[in-house]
């Protein structure tokens, strides 16, 4: 345990667009950790410096076939990278990474998008029972037992 906390391997997962932009804004939190990013857009590689970078397919809950493919890809990446900690700003790739990562002993954190002002995203609601920490970026959405509020990307 001490080893993983002093030199943790962090897997940071986000789908494209706003999810990725928010992950990048949080990325100073990863400084000093061994780091691998998992996302859906190849051109994001230019933004991650020396960190490892893995691509998975872009899938949402409305396409079951692609979701199954995504599940296989995420499982493969986790088996290969063996992260100690998984942090995700959503959406489906992060959800699956947290579910699978937990099976392999990773500590997991979900950060719901700042776009979800009125209620937690559906993925966020579903991941609450599984992630070790589930954060919302709006104070009024925080609840006892989760999600918690610990600031925002803005």
């Amino acid at each position: 345990m001490t080893k993983t906390r002093s030199n943790p391997k962090v897997m940071a997962v986000a789908s494209g667009g706003g999810h990725w932009v928010q992950l990048m804004r949080i990325s100073p939190a990863f400084a000093g950790a061994r780091l691998v990013y998992v996302t859906v857009e190849p051109s994001y590689r230019d933004q991650v410096g020396d960190a490892r970078f893995r691509l998975v397919c872009d899938a949402t809950r409305w396409n079951k076939f692609r979701l199954i493919l995504l599940l296989c890809q995420i499982t493969f990446v986790i088996l290969h990278e063996r992260p100690d900690v998984i942090v995700s700003t959503g959406a489906a790739p992060g959800y699956l990474a947290i579910r699978i990562g937990k099976l392999f002993g990773a500590r997991t954190m979900w950060i719901d998008s700042i776009a979800n002002v009125e209620c937690l995203s559906l993925s966020g609601e579903r991941i609450r029972a599984h992630a070790d920490v589930c954060l919302t970026q709006w104070d009024h959405l925080a609840r006892a037992g989760g999600p918690s509020f610990e600031g925002a990307v803005l």
């Binding site: 804004r25 939190a29 994001y44 776009a115």
Partner: protein
């Protein structure tokens, strides 16, 4: 130059049509739009279906104003680069998105004074005519709030969890 963008997931023809019509009426030839995968073909503005993230950021930085859907990626990029932004939320009822979270996002960010909002297409010409009145704030930092960064860091390195 006005940069219009609909994001990377779905087209947003209602927005593009409104801006295209306005540009035609005003004789504007300095509008560029990223329109997504759509069969709509604008008549008065230059366009591309998709642009890469580097070009996207360059166009935001160079633009007088951004006009877009109420997507967080675009809003955050515009704020990071200190550009004024006018958004129109996508509507689930019009099959433009899967839920109405963009409406709440737009309203909340307007309340925070960060974006201008057209709640529907009829408001767009008037708001575009008054582009100079859309405020541009200072560039926001490119980092999340210290509180959030500390919370994530604390979890990673010390297994610190919210109470």
């Amino acid at each position: 130059m006005i940069f219009v963008t609909v994001g990377h997931q779905m087209p947003f023809d209602r927005l593009i049509s409104a801006v295209d019509a306005w540009a035609g009426e005003r004789g504007r030839d300095d509008v560029f739009a990223q329109i997504g995968e759509t069969e709509l073909r604008p008549r008065h503005i230059r366009w591309a279906a998709k642009i890469d993230p580097a070009e996207f950021r360059e166009r935001v930085e160079a633009a007088e104003t951004i006009v877009s859907h109420a997507g967080m990626g675009t809003i955050l990029t515009a704020l990071e680069l200190g550009r004024p932004i006018l958004v129109m939320p996508r509507r689930e009822s019009l099959s433009e998105t899967r839920n109405d979270h963009q409406v709440a996002t737009a309203v909340r960010f307007r309340e925070l004074g960060r974006v201008s909002v057209a709640m529907d297409a009829s408001e767009i010409p008037g708001l575009l005519d008054r582009l100079g009145s859309i405020p541009a704030g200072d560039r926001i930092s490119t980092e999340a709030s210290p509180r959030l960064i500390n919370a994530v860091r604390g979890f990673i390195f010390e297994d610190r969890r919210p109470i």
